[in-house]
Symmetry: C2
Subunit: 168 residues, 2 copies
DNA sequence: ACCTGAACACCGTTCAAGT
DNA sequence: ACCTGAACACCGTTCAAGT
């Protein structure tokens, strides 16, 4: 049982990540993924149940990587915040799938989501509500930046500094 | 010239909004829209250039409605923030298209985007950077709530109160 | 001027058939 | 056990043809 996936299943996740990073979520089609693996699309279904299962794998992978990046970044709130921005803008497609797609919780490794939550609480050093507000601030900044919603002449470094001020 | 659209074009925007609100962005297909108007999909292209043009129309409509709601809400920052949340969560699909889809700026009425920006600056009462940080906080809260990313037992009222505290 | 059917190049997914 | 072609019900968009 558990997560004893076969080697082909592992390769699917691997290649899906590369395809996602190159072409974005819309480019991650079953046919394109199959092509890259020298297969036909229907064959993928012998190893996975649906496209959503692949998305869930990438969400789990994204959460893990994100947590690792924040954990190993500098210890100040400022350093953590800048690490958040750097990772999210360097991996826009993975960020999108990880934090902007409804979580397929049934398919996620147990405790993964809670792990990130408690990490954020630990960093912010206050209650759940404060931690969530801080997360929302980071997420909002990243999301608007990645979607190109700030005007072109906006000074984002300065905006992040202002936001970090609000945390203290 | 300008925006002298025909009556069919007006109806397209109207029906597209209804379809969006009922079925979301993925449900807003050219075929479904045409069906609702008792036409075939190709006929739509005599009145619009592409699906993106419809999206841009909805963005413009969303921005206008949003601005109106915030403008006419209570005057305190708290009242404005709660009005933001209420509108965004009551109109998740329109919010998504208005504030989470890359702006099709070429197709937007001139000055519309700037109008909202200057309204936010006026409300927050400080510089551009501060206004953007405040906007990001509101946006992040709404986006995480609409995507169902907060845990089920999260107290969102309390979270918003904490966020509003950060503004003062 | 407006609407249509047929077509093109795509989707995710199912399933009978092959090895 | 794994892979395939054909098919189903979808996409956005183009275009020749009808009125």
């Amino acid at each position: 049982m558990a997560n004893a996936h076969g080697p082909t299943r592992e390769r699917i996740t691997q290649e899906a990540l590369l395809l996602l990073q190159e072409k974005g979520s819309a480019g991650l089609s079953m046919r394109a993924l199959a092509d890259r693996m020298h297969m036909k699309a229907p064959s993928l279904y012998k190893h996975i149940e649906s496209r959503d299962e692949i998305i869930a794998d990438l969400q789990a992978l994204g959460i893990s990587r994100f947590a690792e990046v924040i954990r190993t970044s500098g210890k100040t709130k400022r350093a953590k915040a800048l690490a958040y921005r750097k990772w999210a803008t360097a991996n826009p497609h993975l960020y999108e799938i990880t934090f902007r797609t409804p979580l397929l919780r049934k398919r996620l490794p147990l405790g993964l989501e809670e792990g990130v939550t408690s990490m954020i609480i630990q960093i912010t050093g206050k209650d759940h509500e404060h931690a969530r507000a801080v997360w929302a601030l980071m997420h909002g900044l990243v999301d608007l930046e990645n979607a190109g919603r700030f005007p072109e002449n906006a000074n984002l470094d300065k905006t992040w500094n202002r936001a970090i001020q609000m945390l203290e």
